[in-house]
Symmetry: C3
Subunit: 344 residues, 3 copies
């Protein structure tokens, strides 16, 4: 599926932008990001206007970025302000500059018409850098179209199968599931009761049955937040007699790299044991293992699709979320003049 | 060259089908094979009807195969019999099932119209599992069109050159060679006398001159059997005064994977020293080395062809077998409505 | 940019042609080179006329080359003179033979119309094997169109940036630069004064300021010679009171492999310390490091160009040489009936 351009996409974790410029292909375009001396993030076309060398092989000088080939110097606006051997720069000596915003620890980029980019509309996913929460994160490169990952995240019926040996519980095959759709969002509530501990739970020492509520929120272009409440089986969430009252928020932001590859930025924030580095270490390792089960399956799925893109597929009850999300994205694409085949 | 579909192709050695499902691309289609609880082989489309994940990443449950992504369960017929979240499965909840037969230790698959698949017509190459013979085998993946391997096996004039340092004898350049053609087979008898021992012969302790008769049998789509009789130079095969009376049968079954890659299944059965594991070990190692000389040359040949597919080639006397085999396959393709360029 | 065919291209260093045949793709054609028993170089099509195996997998026998697959034997003319199983060879039993010349240690090949190849017109770059000079060399394979390397070599304004940590001096941003163009050549003189020593200079023990004259000579199809004179800052070259009077000649011969890859043959000859192997060793190591900075940048440039070949670029003063060279090559291509987009 194609990707609408007039949207804020996750371009990086804020922690990724350091002294060296960072090159990344986003929506098929090479982009270079860096921070100016005062820390402000900048995003430029990663292609020198002179001989098309990638600027990400250059270096930052104060607020500017110098090409590593012949030394052209670019201001954050994308205008070249120095070139070798001449005092006056020719017309066209500039690269594209992309609107970019840092908010709550995330770097957001606007790949469409800059005139339509309002930084105030950049997403505010606020648990990631909230001092009352602890978070860990990872960027997983995935060789699959970005919507395959959206499908994955909105159809959690895969948990007991794909993640049987990591985060899935075998009883999790018959949850309550309800969807609600707004003009520009989609929300699903999935409740499962009496689950037995997963392999990961056992690693954490959680060895009794529990109830779990997963609240999935999809927002275009490809942002899925999953808010998860877990409590001891049969107790209410928050009940002090429950041996377990946990809330975590999973952020899943997927940005197309090419038509068949994407950047999967995920983070998990928790509101308990926030000062316990062991929880962070265990969580990062165990979650990464599970989410790589996803990326590997999606890559296999993409390879199979590519052997015959016209092969049919059926939809199940669990696909409600993914199909609705595709409808929302199709409408955004239509607004930009892109026609899509139904349910592609 | 394309491949006719209404044929039995070798899909695997029987020994390859164990508990885990086995995924393999055959004639450009992803196929998954497994054994049911009672050992019966099953072949299905390796693409879940739901979201097109490869079923080979799933697991066998009794007679059925479960998808490793969302858990759909497939019967050996290809019909889905369970899916998450719903009791009734939608129409189209099935994958293709391929006729498959196990015979004499080989797994045969029918990639064409199932109504035309008669298991009785599956090949019966019977020395491979004959208790009076000893056999070893190997699957070599080859990045070349399958007919390049057929050409190779039907033109043994390459022995003294390509295999100069393994199984070739330098004198083997002027054999008697006669071809006979039936409606659906091709047979060549190649007799060479007074050959000096090859490097491999010397490894075996065979250090005197010998005579050798090679009886090549081609049967479509791409099966070559080479029955080889060897005896001391000047004696008759079977003469008890001959220091050597050996017969081996080489099975070479080639199955297209894609248009430019194939699966080369080979096995060698011998009727002597059948209880000697050292003979098996030496034979496997030495033959594998020689047959990899073939696969590497064919891959080089394919790469050169790809630089300019229209570059001309000439035919020599030794090409009689390969050219006749292509005629047979072309006729089968024509029966299926596929037109081929002459001698492609 | 395409490559004119009726030109002498560098095919190899003479030292590369030994007993074994050498296969190399030149201008998209597979070529095999070898030396006859008397040392004469031969270049043939690297594709047997029989089954299109690469002859570079064969072996040299006296003056001839034998195919490693079925043993066809080729004379230096390209005519097959032996084939298995038959006394008379069919018409067409030959491969293409390319005019080839060894001159001053270089192997030159003519990929166009053999009737137009005059060995006397093969380039005579004579310092490489001159006993009064010492030389070292390297072949760098580059995944970029050959003209990107020509551009690189004719625009040395990249020295202080791309080579900042190897052979560049930071002051080298404002040289005198003058170009002169002949009917079939292009010459640039670039003079920089008062340069501080580069990282490499410091390795050599050269720790004072110097003046440097670089005389660049471009000759089609893609040969760049850079004659470099260096002397102590403020003295004349050759002045016996100068602590430094050095001349080196850099030969850069670039031969297209495919449209997006090339062979970069470089050599450096020096007229000082010619018997000092340490100078050779240091020079080879330090230059190779610097020239790999070039090849890596060009490969990055090519990848960026490939993401959008229509993306614009601007020209600077330093591009005079590269642009003029492209004009010369475009004229040669036009002579061969090839039309090129301006400045592509």
């Amino acid at each position: 599926m194609q990707a609408p351009r007039n949207q804020w996409y996750c371009a990086a974790f804020g922690r990724e932008l350091k002294e060296a410029p960072l090159g990344r292909v986003l929506l098929n375009e090479p982009v270079v990001m860096y921070r100016t001396a005062d820390g402000t993030p900048v995003a430029l076309e990663d292609r020198c206007c002179h001989r098309r060398a990638p600027l990400s092989r250059g270096k930052v000088e104060g607020s500017n970025l110098r090409c590593g080939y012949h030394g052209l110097l670019y201001a954050p606006t994308g205008a070249a302000i120095w070139a070798p051997g001449q005092d006056r720069l020719p017309p066209g000596a500039r690269v594209r500059s992309y609107p970019i915003v840092e908010k709550h620890g995330w770097i957001w980029i606007w790949m469409g018409d800059p005139a339509r980019a309002d930084p105030k509309t950049a997403p505010a996913y606020d648990k990631y850098d909230d001092p009352d929460w602890a978070a860990y994160d990872e960027l997983i490169p995935v060789k699959a179209n970005y919507m395959l990952m959206v499908d994955n995240l909105l159809d959690l019926s895969h948990l007991p199968f794909l993640h049987a040996s990591t985060i899935g519980s075998p009883e999790d095959t018959n949850p309550e599931l309800n969807w609600e759709r707004g003009p520009n969002w989609l929300k699903g509530v999935r409740i499962a009761r009496g689950l037995s501990p997963s392999a990961r739970n056992l690693l954490e020492g959680l060895d009794f049955r529990f109830d779990r509520t997963q609240i999935m929120l999809f927002e275009p272009p490809a942002h899925v937040t999953i808010d998860i409440l877990t409590n001891e089986y049969g107790k209410a969430y928050g009940d002090p007699t429950s041996r377990l009252n946990r809330r975590i928020v999973i952020y899943d932001f997927i940005t197309p790299e090419t038509d068949r590859t994407c950047h999967y930025f995920w983070a998990i924030a928790r509101d308990y044991a926030i000062d316990d580095p062991k929880q962070t270490e265990l969580g990062l390792r165990a979650t990464s293992a599970a989410f790589h089960e996803d990326s590997q399956m999606l890559e296999a799925e993409q390879r199979i699709i590519d052997t015959d893109p016209s092969s049919p597929q059926i939809d199940l009850v669990g696909d409600t979320g993914g199909l609705q999300a595709r409808r929302i994205v199709e409408r955004l694409l239509a607004d930009e003049g892109v026609t899509t085949a139904a349910a592609q």
